[in-house]
């Protein structure tokens, strides 16, 4: 999967509020079982499993099975990549917008000199 597709998955996975709540929960602990994750939500276990599938596909969580318990852990690497994308474009556009502002301000001054 290329970088863009991966980022798309990360962002799509993060859009859903239940999935964000699951990630927030995982952030506070070193892993949790599926039933622990399901507990605060008014949704059934299969629905939670589905959300975990989306998060796992996006690489945001890992699941490991030990006996009958599945432990879910946060994997922050895809979020880092998403943040890098954002930061890169921020630098890039910030310089341009400064130049755009300078140009527009020169145009405004010119229009005023002409009395418009």
């Amino acid at each position: 999967m290329n970088n863009q597709a991966r980022l798309g998955r990360t962002f799509s996975a993060l859009v859903d509020p239940t999935r964000r709540a699951i990630l927030a929960r995982l952030e506070r602990s070193d892993g949790a079982s599926v039933s622990e994750l399901a507990q605060p939500f008014a949704i059934r276990l299969p629905a939670v499993m589905k959300h975990l599938d989306v998060l796992a596909d996006a690489g945001l969580v890992t699941r490991s099975k030990s006996g009958r318990t599945v432990t879910v852990r946060l994997r922050p690497q895809p979020m880092r990549e998403a943040m890098d994308w954002l930061r890169r474009y921020e630098r890039f556009w910030s310089n341009r917008l400064d130049r755009l502002a300078a140009y527009a301000e020169a145009k405004e001054a010119e229009a005023r000199r002409r009395g418009r």
Partner: protein, 147 residues
């Protein structure tokens, strides 16, 4: 606010800023990210029309981006798709939007650049991508977790 949103206050009226954003002459003045020259600027400014801009950076590398105008409301709003030509680094299509609001000293410009990998993600985006990004930032502000 997310990292993708940038706000500038500009001492120029919205119509002047709008034209700086949407005319080939204007684009040629600011499109390059550093002081290198804009080599080519074409803009067919209508919804569905295309733009293409090629520039050289001070390090000698040349880059070209192009896209389609998605929304045009003079002098308030421009939205366009964005794609790098041959960009291995970032091959997908994203969306750039510039909103202009009149303020006493001139114009407040709000710029957003959003990733649009596919239609599903675009719909998701409309349902609250901003919130997701805010969360993401909050996560990184706090997080010291290692992968």
């Amino acid at each position: 606010m997310t990292s993708l949103t940038l706000v500038r206050r500009i001492k120029a009226r919205p119509s002047i800023v709008f034209d700086a954003v949407t005319t080939a002459e204007g684009i040629a003045q600011w499109w390059g990210p550093d002081a290198g020259p804009v080599l080519l600027a074409e803009a067919d400014v209508r919804v569905g029309g295309r733009y293409r801009v090629r520039f050289r950076m001070l390090d000698g590398t040349e880059h070209e981006s192009s896209g389609e105008y998605l929304e045009l409301v003079r002098p308030e709003r421009v939205a366009m798709s964005w794609r790098w030509k041959g960009g291995q680094e970032d091959p997908g299509v994203s969306r750039v939007e510039i909103r202009l609001r009149a303020i006493p000293e001139g114009t407040e410009l709000t710029f957003t650049h959003a990733l649009l990998p596919d239609d599903g993600a675009r719909r998701s985006h409309e349902q609250g991508w901003t919130g997701a990004l805010d969360k993401l930032q909050a996560h990184f502000a706090r997080s010291t977790t290692t992968p």
